[in-house]
Symmetry: C2
Subunit: 434 residues, 2 copies
Amino acid sequence: MNVPEPSTELVQRAISVRRAATYLGQSTDIQRKEALGAIADALSLCRKEIVSANQQDLKRSIENGLSESLLSRLKLNENKLDAAIEGVRKVACLPDPIGIRQLHRQLDEGLYLERLTVPLGVIGVIFEARPDALIQIASLALRSGNAAILKGGSEAKLTNEAIVKAIDHGLGNSSINSDAICLLTTRRESLSLLRLDGMVDLIIPRGSNDLVRFIQDNTRIPVLGHADGICHLYIDSAADLDKALRIAIDSKCQYPAACNAIETLLLHKDIAPSFLDKAIPFFNESGVKLLGDQVCNSLGIENKAEESDWSTEYLDLVLSVKVVSSIDQALDHISRHGSRHTDSIVTNDPKTANKFLHSVDSSGVFLNCSTRFADGFRYGFGAEVGISTQTLPPRGPVGLEGLVTYRYFLKGDGHVVSEFASGAKSFSHKDLGL
Amino acid sequence: MNVPEPSTELVQRAISVRRAATYLGQSTDIQRKEALGAIADALSLCRKEIVSANQQDLKRSIENGLSESLLSRLKLNENKLDAAIEGVRKVACLPDPIGIRQLHRQLDEGLYLERLTVPLGVIGVIFEARPDALIQIASLALRSGNAAILKGGSEAKLTNEAIVKAIDHGLGNSSINSDAICLLTTRRESLSLLRLDGMVDLIIPRGSNDLVRFIQDNTRIPVLGHADGICHLYIDSAADLDKALRIAIDSKCQYPAACNAIETLLLHKDIAPSFLDKAIPFFNESGVKLLGDQVCNSLGIENKAEESDWSTEYLDLVLSVKVVSSIDQALDHISRHGSRHTDSIVTNDPKTANKFLHSVDSSGVFLNCSTRFADGFRYGFGAEVGISTQTLPPRGPVGLEGLVTYRYFLKGDGHVVSEFASGAKSFSHKDLGL
């Protein structure tokens, strides 16, 4: 691995975070709610310091030639800060994800098995630029009973320090130990964080695809995140073309920088001419640059799509368009080039719809609606920890449940396995109410 | 990574397995049940060939000087084969884990979200020696709608080939494509399997800790498995010593080679003298070699435990014993040396019990019973895919649910996000019946 061994000091800090996590795991719903309230209050009290620290970060970053888009993410003015503080109070109101009984079973007389949700323990978060992400992820971690080790970008150093100072102060006014939130400040520490397997239970990267991929390749700790969002919209021959156009425009243009925006439009050959006839002016008007395969080029799309376009996440007002001769060809294209994020079909044929929904193995498979709905808030989770494109759960938009796991509790009265192995006893396996 | 790039031929095979998985994911419960029945029948028909292939494998392995314990795992006589075939029929009878609705929500009028369990896709299984494991894991994979790429040890080559030939034959008599089960035979292929991310969704290693650790370090594909099982039994000052001794003997001796057997016994100082007085003769009688800390040495345990003993998985009739002065010291020891597998406390004090159960962050935390209960069959799962010591779900003993994931299905009627973003519409988020 390309990452340095953690320093003794980092290990010591991780041990104290872990200890705080153990206590946090035993805290009550009300204690955690109150702690978030105290943090929100402390952040409000420190508004001036935070905003002024951010102005220094911005000034330095402008001098260092940081790009416009990164500067706009880095910027934390009073409005953005207020929204983030409001977010903390909203997270406090989310239902407690801890202590939910998922299984309750009698194994034998006097021997009872329960499976209850518990916090993961310690979350490691590595994020670029956006300091409001720090506020959000710290509150999600605490709400679900987890401690967190946070590493922000160096460009946001002063802002992050001011925020964590306020969080510390808030926790000081609560019953939760302030060791539960720990900010790392050097790049060396950030990399070593990846080596803290056994002490950190989950890494959440918030940043570019390159960052996510680097992290995935350099840690044994599970990573919640997605490297690519190559989403498709397939317009079938049996589609309502007005709806199809609405959905296509929304899926591409409503917020093109999002991972759930489409990068490729697949058109059934039967509707391709009439659809493009209508669609090209609309896309032009919305500033979308269209790249087409050969058939599309003959139907009015001027720019040519290269082979690499089918696997490119533009995150911009660019859309590659391809004509397919059948649903099977569409499925094949998605299977080959998709990233198992979200793919949608527009059709009025229930059989075709069904085939699409059960063949595409993405975390979201949609019918007659925009891919932009793939989002934790829109799904009604109340919060979004991240979107995962891995196959194993949690996949897709992940709410607080992504920050919890479960533990099996078995309570007996001197029960031993040898009596069951010998046949003297047998398991009852009787499910009890949850 | 230390593993070779997959060959073109391996990629081609993986593509056909993946295609089979797509069809398998759309198969019905009955189709998969029938396929397992056909496999069981075919294995029965081929009993002679399989057993005779196994005898050749055994003969060659004896000549090559394979160890006694590996030879006993390799051996597949008619009895063991019959038990494995019976296992296939039992897996067929397990409830279908696919298509279970976990969420059903109206997001807006005409816009409905469902979350349904679906197969993972393609499972990669790497196992050493035991050919009956191939039969078991293939049937679990198919039952849950997954295809599987299997790599067995070279010592079992002929047996594995005979088994897969029979499985192929069985699938030929069913509606499931026989491409769904693929056997790799060379070591080079087995290693390249680890590079098939995007084509293989989960790797299940069945073998030594070293194998598991090597795999975890050399693949981006998620791995279901556990590297260590360092389980503890803590006997509190408020314990019933007769029960404690029963539980200690069972946890160590009932099957010492299992990962859920204890490696360390922690004794509260108040009961240590009287407990050891009783226990030492019993352990001696059971052939258990005791290794003690200094206090234990003064209480009659002759052998000294070295520092490394607290982190050693003996998988044998060896037990390290330590005296602690408090529950906190016991918790600290477990947190430092445990592998988050299964830990048990014996106590009649509800407060101490509660503290233990909520502080130890292992997948199984037990009260007044043997650690040996940590097992999918004993928990009533009907099958065990593996035991996971990772923190994220699935953890602990994992049944068929470890081979499934879920997919979000969103069905609308031209719904677009821009209407919600503009405030023209708002989400209803109304939960419907499951």
